[in-house]
Amino acid sequence: MSPKDHKHPEWERKWRDTMTDHQSAPATEEDWLSMSALLEGGAAAPPETPPQAGPAGGTTWNFLPWLLPVVVTVSLATAYWLYPREATPTIGEELAADRWATEDAEDGTLLLSDEASGRQQAPQAVSDDRGQSAGGSRQRSGMNPASGARATASSGPSPDAPPETQRTSPQDAAGKTPPPRETRPAENRKAGGEAEGETVPRAANGPPEPTPPERVSRPRRRIPRWMPQIARDFDPDAIWKRKIERQIAKLRVEPQRQPKADNGLYPRVRVRY
């Protein structure tokens, strides 16, 4: 007797005992026919048995026709988005390249100003391949006043020193200096565009014009396609700098009213943040 039996009245307990031993009439042929129809249509074959001939055998892999295209599509999409892109740079990459070029140009300016102070070996190597310096061409053509001014500033202080006297052989320059700067893409663009406009007198039967070195472009950073543009141009140093400058601009320095008994320990001014 179960612990719940006290809740059941006597007749319910009797009913339970009666129904426990109760058997209904045996299954009719109609009952079994409906059951066999279910078995045939419902794949009653257990999964561990080998595949049977007929509809029961193929039900395990019925999902393949729709699963396979889904898997293939998802894999292709994933590969497409994750694979780094190398062709056709976007506007962001062009901007980044220009920024690098600007930085390189500034570096070049610094080097040229170094040249003015007497260390001219490195920039001379740049100018040797075309027979004249890029700075000189800028100055002559006047197409780029800023860079021309820069070039003037760099080469201006040494007018009395003819360039021929300061030149070193290309081999020596290549041995002493870092790789030539005209290999940078933006500078190539500027220097090349200006070089096209000038006329260089040459002897008709002179030695063959030295072929310019092949442009070696800086290898493009492999930026994944899924990386957003904002992440590509993200410059944490500049952001920090702007932030600190803003904070400094907000500072207010106020003179403090001095107490009567000034022992020199009170601050004279107060900085408000």
Binding site: W11, W15, R16, H22, A27, M35, L39, A43, A44
Partner: protein, 188 residues
Amino acid sequence: MQFITARERNKLLAACRRGDRRGQEMLYRKSFPFLLPLVQRYLRDRAEAVSVLNQAMLKIFQSLPDYREQERLEGWMATIVRRTVLNFIRDEGRARRRFHPEAYPAPTSVANTGLENLAAEDILKLLETLPDYLRVVFSLYVFDDYSHPEIARELDITAVASRWRLAKARELLRDAYLSTHEINQQRS
């Protein structure tokens, strides 16, 4: 309830696991008289009860590889049948029907002496007079020994509603018995 000997059971189970249709038919025919009353406690119509039992038997055949030999086959099958019936009732929404008091006579005090000596067929007939949502609660509580919280969980109702339905089912069963008994006495 034991409808099969251990030796027969092993043979039948092996045949059913192979997918042998004759073995499946034998197991079906042997277990049918024991399992159908279990379904009929919940479902009034025999054809409907057989349909649900067949669904349960299909599940049994499909789940035979999961059956562990140390388990009682009868109990395992009865559990699957009961779960199938309850799922059917839940899916059909039969346990959620609202009670309309005007449709039933007022409860009367009836002596229980007559109820005790009913045969199984009479019990089933009396159960058929109950509406579905009361019969399910009564069967679960009386025959399957469920508690009210368990019934509430199964049928997605409250335990209070389960208690109320059980009390209502008892009253209606007494009334139905009384009316049947009076008719029989008048005939005799």
